[in-house]
């Protein structure tokens, strides 16, 4: 892969295949009208034939690491820096980087610096291994009802076995997300704003797990939800969907 000096943000941040590269290059080229070596970008890079389809974009990631980190400004004015590789995880920051608008401080209004620290911590941990396709597959596992084949009795894994957690991040995530409720919601809000799908998924799954199997009274207590129904209204509602309330 050639490493000619590249005006910031012109090259796509990761390359899935030649087509994606050409598409992103065309988008980036049209988005900025600066004089850029068009022929270098427009020609799609051939994918090395021996690499597997999940080849991690290591050369790209290293280039990103050399570029200066982004600076996010929290609502209280504190600046938090995030490396470019970690910033890939945020769709919003990715677009900014592609449009090369990411040089100056990026405001993150309504996100407190403590929360921003946490979010950046998550991104830095997951950033080096981030693969959008694999992450999409993990968030939407297919098939939704896996077929039950013969149960496995052997510790030998066939070559086709895909390790669901190849970098051992599940335990780290579990520790990371064990926060008090309000911090958790702030993190979810920040992930929603910055469009970090993995963190949003982690947060929402945690909340769903807290709600699962609990009665409405218990849920109200855990999440401090005020019940503003009158008893008659509530009874009416329960009757309307009686099947859901049988226990």
């Amino acid at each position: 892969m050639d490493s000619t000096a590249d005006p910031k943000g012109k090259r796509p941040l990761y390359q899935e295949d030649g087509l994606a590269y050409a598409r992103a290059a065309a988008a980036a080229a049209s988005a900025t009208a600066a004089a850029a070596p068009d022929e270098e970008e427009a020609k799609p890079k051939p994918k090395p034939s021996s690499s597997s389809e999940e080849a991690k974009p290591e050369p790209e990631a290293e280039d990103q690491a050399e570029m200066p980190p982004l600076v996010l400004v929290a609502e209280d004015g504190v600046e938090v820096s995030i490396s470019r590789r970690a910033a890939r995880m945020s769709h919003m920051l990715r677009l900014l980087m592609e449009d090369s608008c990411a040089d100056g401080p990026i405001p993150a209004p309504n996100v407190h610096s403590d929360i921003l620290d946490l979010v950046v911590q998550y991104c830095e941990k997951h950033g080096p291994y981030y693969d959008p396709e694999a992450s999409e597959r993990a968030r939407n596992p297919f098939p939704p009802f896996p077929v039950e084949l013969t149960p496995t009795v052997s510790s030998i894994k066939p070559v086709t076995y895909v390790d669901p957690d190849p970098h051992g991040l599940k335990d780290w995530d579990k520790d990371f997300i064990s926060l008090d409720n309000s911090t958790l919601f702030e993190v979810i809000l920040a992930a929603n704003y910055l469009n970090i799908e993995d963190l949003l998924d982690l947060g929402t799954t945690t909340v769903a797990d807290m709600m699962r199997g609990k009665k409405p009274e218990e849920i109200r207590e855990i999440f401090e939800i005020e019940n503003d129904y009158t008893p008659e209204q509530e009874a009416e509602l329960r009757k309307e969907n009686a099947w859901a309330f049988e226990d």
């Binding site: 403590d114 939704p144 030998i156 070559v159 309000s182 799954t205 409405p216 109200r220 969907n241 099947w243």
Partner: protein, 487 residues
């Protein structure tokens, strides 16, 4: 993704309140004014919908009673998942399909007119419920569902009434076929689709289980799925070849398991990366799959040499291969002169559960080793009967026609289920003597093939005695720097 700056007025209300000071915070630096105290209600509607989507449908419906703000949030959920087995488990095993169907209909009624991304329904099929199933498919079509899963289990009286659910292709018109991206169906039959049915052009993932169809119908339906990336066919009785007339140019993952009546698999899939097969040894013709990264092939009922020849024919470009044989027969011949080789094969895992008559013949796997000149990593996992401990029979490595062949690239070998049988010893010695660059050799007496099920360990004395038969001979034949692990 919703922008939370537009979240409901509840947020503005809360921001005016005092900040909550007594938080059981986790390692957050104490500040005078901490971050605002967010509540679950502060999250924007689409995030709350995402949370409810991760719960089973009945719990999502229950959330309507939490507070007045929550009354209709569940009706905006883009993902609906209904699993009758959960209800059955809860009510102690008495499935009532009609009740389940009513519940599903109620929920879908509330979602009428909204876009649903995922619709997933799992229950036991009864033919009198076909009308409802068709309605659900109509609902999915009108809601532009992208991911549809209809996991039907055959009813207990299947053998008597035995009819699969006939998938209603006639309900799909030209626009609606373009929405579907992922489809999982089970216990369904594909009768010939209507003439105007053009297939699912945007279908990326397809999972077929207990499908009842013919080759032509399957081909008609799949031939226009140009974007298909993932295909799984399990327990489908095709009674014919599995052959697709048009190339599946985007197919990356293909799995065929337990389909006992398929006679042949042949199609053109240039980007195929993973292939999994379990069933009888049939001709598998995937020569165009030059990028086949991983394959797992489990054959029943044929001799090892035949299987190797079949694979050489059909999967010549595979890089990593797991080959599993159950109760195979071994021919007592060396099939060594083959002009064709596995030109990409780097890693082979051979899993063998042999019948007693053939247990002493594992040396014949040399036939496979000879057609994999670039092999770097060899794993042989054995599960043998107890009579094989220190057994004497089988050919000697000196019987192998020499022809000076060396395993020039073999760096690593791992053998499990070692029982100090003559055949095991001969195999180890043969490989070690003919692999000049081997640097790691592991001989494991533990039966790794059943180690999660069996809990009894091999007695240490037996283990040591078994390993002693090869300890010094292997050490002698290995290069000085090579690592030898005897477990």
């Amino acid at each position: 993704m919703g922008n939370y700056l537009n979240s409901p007025t509840a947020l503005e209300k809360k921001c005016e309140l005092h900040y909550h000071v007594n938080r059981p915070a986790r390692k957050i630096a104490a500040r005078n004014e901490g971050p605002p105290n967010a509540k679950l209600d502060n999250l924007p509607q689409d995030v709350l919908c995402t949370i409810l989507s991760k719960l089973p449908a009945r719990e999502a419906v229950r959330s309507s009673v939490l507070s007045s703000e929550w009354r209709y949030i569940w009706t905006a959920c883009p993902r609906l998942s209904f699993n009758h087995n959960d209800d059955v488990r809860r009510h102690g095993g008495k499935p009532n399909a009609q009740v389940f169907v009513d519940h599903v209909n109620e929920v879908l009624q509330k979602h009428r007119g909204k876009a649903i991304d995922h619709l997933e329904i799992k229950f036991t099929f009864q033919s009198n419920l076909t009308y409802h199933l068709n309605n659900w498919i109509r609902f999915a079509i009108s809601s532009q569902t992208k991911n549809l899963a209809l996991d039907l289990a055959p009813p207990s009286d299947f053998l008597k009434h035995g009819d699969h659910y006939r998938f209603p292709f006639q309900l799909f018109d030209k626009e609606s076929v373009s929405c579907l991206e992922c489809l999982q169906i089970s216990f369904v039959s594909f009768k010939p689709p209507p003439a105007q049915f053009i297939g699912f052009p945007n279908l990326r993932k397809l999972d077929l289980h207990l499908l009842n169809t013919t080759r032509q119908d399957l081909d008609t339906i799949l031939c226009s799925c140009e974007n298909l990336e993932w295909l799984s066919i399990v327990r489908c009785q095709l009674k014919d070849e599995l052959e697709f007339s048009r190339p599946l140019s985007q197919l990356r993952y293909f799995r065929v398991k337990h389909c006992n009546n398929i006679t042949k698999i042949q199609f053109h899939a240039a980007k195929l990366s993973t292939f999994m097969y379990r069933g009888d040894c049939i001709p598998i013709a995937l020569h165009h799959s030059i990028k086949l990264e991983k394959a797992e092939v489990i054959f029943h009922d044929l001799t090892f040499q035949h299987c190797t020849a079949a694979l050489l024919d059909g999967l010549p470009g595979v890089r990593n291969l797991t080959l599993e044989f159950t109760f195979q027969r071994m021919e007592t011949t060396w099939v060594l002169d083959s002009r064709r080789v596995f030109s990409q094969l780097r890693h082979v895992q051979i899993v063998m559960i042999m019948c007693e008559e053939d247990e002493d013949k594992i040396l014949y796997i040399v036939s496979l080793l000879r057609v994999a000149p670039f092999l770097e990593n060899l794993e042989v996992h054995l599960d043998s009967s107890y009579t094989l401990w220190f057994a004497k029979g089988g050919p000697s490595r000196l019987d192998i026609p020499a022809c000076g062949y060396k395993y020039l690239n073999l760096k690593n070998m791992h053998l499990t289920g070692f029982r100090a049988a003559n055949s095991h010893i001969q195999l180890l010695l043969h490989v070690v003597e003919n692999a000049p660059v081997i640097d790691t050799l592991t001989v494991d007496t533990c039966e790794r093939l059943v180690d999660l099920r069996k809990t009894e360990k091999i007695k240490p004395g037996l283990r040591c005695a078994a390993l002693d038969t090869v300890r010094f001979r292997l050490r002698e034949s290995l290069q000085p720097g090579a690592k030898l692990y005897l477990l």
